[in-house]
């Protein structure tokens, strides 16, 4: 009986560790989709770019991913800002269909470009922490690298939340989300704020990508699986709620882990989608959301 408890606890903790990375991705999407209403199908592709940047810093300059991810996020902010300013801003007023299509196109561009530049080869990053183990008592073992990622993610998530809630920029952004026209009337530069917000959202997923690199592999298509997951997090957390998406990320991590434990790993991702559909049908506002769907 006790071992059942410890297995479950281990699974929950592992789920939280993985989930913390999901949270960063989800928070990025919450900014982009939840607040700006941009249905961004290039989210995973941005993450992939960040992973390549982090990898290059590691491979060519020996910078550990646990620092490199910051540089990658900065690069991604620039890419995100440029993408919005150069491409998305023209389509933003039009239907979601257009946004979906253009972001799909952008994703293809990034993936195709990565394929050409780096070829389809897999890359792996091993840091001294990759094999390190952390023991909590005699029953729980954690991977050192994962723990570090978790701590960093939580710190970043809190930072991001505070920034969006308390800073002037954050308030401007939320003003735009509430009423774009009114916001422009009170002097907010709507397009620029949105470009910065998009850049921030992409930077968030850039942070996640860099932190993910040691735990994972790198190849051009690596981001594809995270697109849908990020939408799930935003819906689960509630539209417009950054903290909701963060919590949703943790929830997804734990749910996947427990599903693996009790039902089988092959069903873990399916459960994500089933939850998504349930939330959409039963409580579309999500956990923390207040907006009508």
């Amino acid at each position: 009986m006790a071992s059942l408890f410890w297995s479950a606890l281990q699974a929950v903790i592992d789920g939280l560790l993985t989930g913390s990375l999901y949270s960063l991705i989800g928070m990025g999407m919450a900014l982009i989709f939840g607040v700006m209403r941009i249905v961004n199908f290039a989210h995973g592709a941005f993450m992939m770019l960040s992973m390549y940047v982090t990898y290059l810093l590691f491979d060519r300059l020996g910078v550990t991913p646990y620092l490199g991810f910051l540089a990658a996020a900065a690069v991604l902010f620039v890419i995100g800002f440029a993408t919005y300013h150069g491409l998305l801003r023209w389509v933003n007023e039009r239907s979601e269909f257009m946004i979906i299509l253009i972001t799909l196109g952008i994703a293809q561009m990034f993936i195709g470009g990565a394929q050409l530049t780096f070829s389809g080869d897999f890359h792996k990053v091993n840091t001294p922490l990759s094999g390190a183990l952390v023991h909590l008592g005699s029953h729980i073992t954690l991977n050192g690298g994962d723990v570090l990622s978790f701590v960093i993610s939580v710190a970043l998530a809190i930072g991001m939340f505070l920034f969006v809630m308390k800073s002037r920029f954050g308030r401007a952004l939320r003003a735009i989300a509430q009423n774009r026209y009114a916001a422009s009337l009170i002097g907010i530069n709507v397009q620029r704020t949105q470009a910065v917000a998009f850049g921030l959202g992409v930077a968030a997923v850039g942070l996640a990508g860099g932190l993910f690199l040691p735990a994972f592999y790198l190849y051009p298509e690596v981001g594809s699986g995270f697109n849908l997951k990020s939408f799930v997090m935003v819906v689960l957390g509630g539209m417009g709620s950054i903290e909701g998406a963060a919590i949703a990320g943790l929830v997804l991590g734990v749910v996947e882990s427990l599903t693996s434990l009790y039902w089988g790993n092959q069903w873990a991702v399916v459960v994500d989608f089933v939850i998504f559909l349930l939330v959409l049908s039963l409580r579309p506002a999500g956990l923390f959301g207040s907006q009508r769907v």
């Binding site: 209403r37 299509l101 196109g105 561009m109 849908l228 799930v232 092959q266 998504f276």
Partner: protein
Amino acid sequence: MTQRRAILAAVGFALCLLVPLVVQQDYQLNVLFRIALFSALGMAWNLVGGYAGQLSLGHAAFFGIGAYALPLFHDKLGVPIPLALVLVIVAAVAAAYVIGRVSFRLRGPYFALATIAFAEVLRLSVKNLEVTGGDVGLQVPALFGSISPTRWFYLAAVVLAAAALAATAWIVRSRFGYQLQAVREDEDTARACGIDPARTKLNALIISAAFTALGGALYASQYFFIVPDSVLAIDLSERPAISAMLGGAGTMTGPIVGAILIETALELFKNVFHEAFQLIFGVLLVLVVLFLPEGIVGTLASWWRRKRAS
């Protein structure tokens, strides 16, 4: 459809049927088969996406249901082929009902996301379950006799596309068609006029699903063998949507134009650009969204009307 256009369409149809007399190679017929099939799929999607204005990105679910229903009913349950095809439609209608009931309560992007989720759940479940062959896949019965030359599949696809076009033409002129477009333009006002948006959208989805599933069964049979990723992958949902949009969603022939362009472009690009093909495809897609939002047919039509007016 005016009489002139109906005659044109009939002539076009007849010409398409005569193509196998000229084109003999299987490879070429294969390309034409895909063009015809994706035209049909694009038009089917267009009913929901173009006319009803509901962006579905989960049509792969219906495609896959058609593809899997055929071997499951025929090989595992011993149902004869004609009946199996009927059951394919029944399965698609049932799925459309379920998916529609849940998804149509959602608006805008949520609807699209929900449809994606349904298709993914289906794909992963098929992959995990023994009864559908898992990822090892299923052999699919041959629809046109054991040899089943490609030209029969091509002809069947042309017939399916013609049927889809005819259905679209009929719907557009009917009251149902006006209800669809009313719902697309402004759902609340439509409801105020006494239209039941949920029911209208659901009916469109059901018709769309039936055509898509038949297309799936045809496709599956042509390749003789299916795995989940070949018939339920998300790019099978994206392709008809992109074709319709490229050609002009909400126009009758838009999806045909779009399908021809996409399939030929893909085929040409692959041979010419090799590894750069994905990048180029992405760039083109971005350019089309930026500069041709009404699709080719839509833009042409606007230009023609403006010219006429001046």
